[in-house]
Symmetry: C2
Subunit: 233 residues, 2 copies
DNA sequence: AGGAATTTGTGCGTATGTATC
DNA sequence: AGATACATACGCACAAATTCC
């Protein structure tokens, strides 16, 4: 009979801290105990704990400041952890906001790729603005198994923050396909390209920290008022 | 008077190894000496060298195999280290190739952002194909200070491989802006959208390992035959 | 097939440097 | 200036994976 090898302590420690953060027991800006104290409490050598902390820093969950301390980084930083891609005004910049138009639990659409365990998904439709100007519409499908219910009132500008704070997972990897596509019929009045007109189109498949695909989304943006920006590495 | 602090040994060691690889003295697949031997040669503790090796592994330049050794990973893997973004066929996949149309040393264009020290740049124009079908044209401006001369014969499908192998630097970060733009007049016959017609447009600014901006490029792709794909994280 | 040798991975403890408070 | 706290570096012991004989 084969037994699974015990994971290394530094991984166990890192996962423990990640769960603490995800569960909200460690919140934004909070300073952790000194490394030596934490190590003693957890029964680890300082070097072992330091390796776990380095992992968390790599994930962007922690800021380590020499001579000061280790700080939880849990803020809704648009351009930071969640800045996989963004929309910008053609001349750069622009303050992004999002307005949730509707939320519904429905069967996943046929054209969506296989993702998640559930047959249904939470469909979230949003209007996105830069400096108050509508520049894009968005349809997001979150796998139904990830939340019993998604209430419109719970959603803020950052959907990914909601995932982490309320649903206990986070988006670790994404793959975006950018092309052109006609604007769908549900586009609200006020969004520049009329339904049927050609717009920039982003199809995204997003995975959580364990590599599970949890979300499929489509964004239609007006090329006259917005650009898709991807910063890499 | 202030003196610059000496960099940590693990960084010095990592940079030394990176230069060895870039200079070709360590080539693909080659196995390094055992860690303990290398550490002794370099006058370092094993742990210090191991940190340098871990850095290289993080950059994808090294593969570390427990019980076996450390192996140089220097292959021209299109989707690997240099796969910042790629063009794909609408249904996915497609074998990418590139045909260099022209190379010239010219003053940088006015619409390019500030990058590099030189007033001039090497302008490289390419036709890109997927499965042999022309899907995009590309105009790349490499800062003139980075190479005395760029000969068309030296360029292979992977421009970034040429940078690393022949010019001694590599692209570490990129920022892509994707929108729509008319196809320029120099587009060769055989490229689907005619000059003046609207195409997908990617403007890229690329930085080397030291954070210096070295390259500005524009790509026009046919949305009917290709999609821009960005995988992140 | 199997065991020994080799090589990297994990973990510990400690000393010293350096930034912050 | 002193205390605190993280960063670097060293050396060692043992575990686990691979390779060699």
């Amino acid at each position: 009979m084969s037994t699974r090898p015990t994971p290394p302590k530094y991984l166990t420690a890192a996962e423990f801290l990640i769960r603490e953060i995800a569960a909200g027991r460690l919140s934004d800006g909070e300073r952790l105990s000194p490394e030596r104290d934490m190590a003693a409490e957890m029964g680890l050598a300082v070097g072992t704990l330091r390796r776990a902390l380095a992992d968390l820093e790599g994930k962007g969950l922690l800021e380590r400041v020499q001579g000061s301390g280790n700080y939880i980084r849990n803020s809704p930083d648009i351009t930071g952890l969640y800045g996989f891609f963004r929309l910008e005004r053609p001349d750069g910049g622009g303050v992004p906001t999002a307005e949730t138009l509707s939320v519904a639990l429905l069967p996943k659409p046929a054209h969506a790729p296989d993702f998640g365990a559930d047959r249904n998904g939470h469909r979230i439709r949003r209007l996105r603005r830069l400096d108050g100007i509508p520049v894009a519409i968005e349809e997001i499908w979150l796998d139904g198994a990830r939340a019993r219910e998604v209430r419109q009132a719970d959603l803020s500008d950052s959907l990914y923050l909601f995932y982490r704070k309320s649903l206990g997972f986070w988006i670790a990897r994404t793959e975006d396909r950018v092309g052109l596509a006609p604007v769908p019929g549900w586009a609200p009045t006020g969004f520049a390209p009329a339904p049927g007109a050609t717009a920039g189109h982003v199809a995204r498949l997003a995975q959580d920290q364990d590599g599970q695909a949890v979300e499929f989304s489509e964004t239609w943006f007006d090329p006259a008022t917005a650009r898709y920006v991807a910063r890499q590495r």
